[in-house]
Symmetry: D3
Subunit: 66 residues, 6 copies
């Protein structure tokens, strides 16, 4: 009965990509630990780039510098 | 000083229902563990059905199959 | 398919009390939002009083002042 | 490689204020624990006042009473 | 710069299995979304079976019934 | 009424250092956003180095390579 929370920046992940994350993580937990997919939850949070910081700066700022 | 995080799919919970969850959980922690309601926090996250997976599929897909 | 995370300080909650929290929260989500108990997860985190702060002080310190 | 999650009510925090939180927390972890800013993540969640409860009431209700 | 939190019950996952989860999830995020592994964090929480509930009962109780 | 969760690897942070994190973050939220310290919660999670991955490897492995 695992619970997985994936946080990514909100930068256009498609419904298909999110579905791939859900099935991929669920499959991984089954393979590695034998966990039942029926009771595996995956929750994806998409976070605004203003609200995610790394190295003391927001991702919004980091994207400008690249 | 408990902190409770409730994650549900975003499928139309009303303000009244959310208020019931907040007061219900706060009351439960007071009854069971004697926790002071004044310092009990409840945070409700409503998650898009595309972003919640169970059994390797998104809730959006599961709702279509029902 | 709700997911609920309850964080409390580690101060001797018994197995029975934790069971009461699990069944109480699960029942509340069924009553208020009609959520299926079979796919309701509750995870309780017990946090050391040194690791929980309120008002800028650890709960360990606050307990000494009372 | 710390990970910090800051949850606040959604009540108009500006991009500049969020940047200050990101740089402030990252600096604090470097000062206190010598953590490398490059691998310090900060994620800010802004929560609707209907979805945050304290003392058994939503912040929306509490704001009306003040 | 994704952040992934995996919660499982504490039932003997080995260091090797946890390493497989870390590398598997990191690889998945690279494949599906092109995320840089260097800034992908994975945190695994192992939760006591007394502290995890499903269907209104603790996993400790559920394990006894099987 | 902010809630802050700080996750660090379990590598010997002292009670004093944890107190500094608690007071530092609480003060930051007061300065930047005018948040009341009395209702600011800080929870520190110390995570085993086997359970924290970055770049696809556990911190335990990364520490060996340094």
């Amino acid at each position: 009965m695992p619970y997985v929370n994936i946080k990514i920046t909100r930068e256009g992940a498609t419904t298909e990509q999110k579905q791939e994350l859900i099935s991929g993580v669920t499959g991984l937990l089954q393979e590695v630990l034998g966990k039942n997919p029926k009771t595996t939850f995956v929750v994806i949070d998409e976070v605004d780039t203003d609200n995610w910081g790394i190295g003391g700066e927001s991702v919004t700022e980091l994207r400008k510098q690249t």
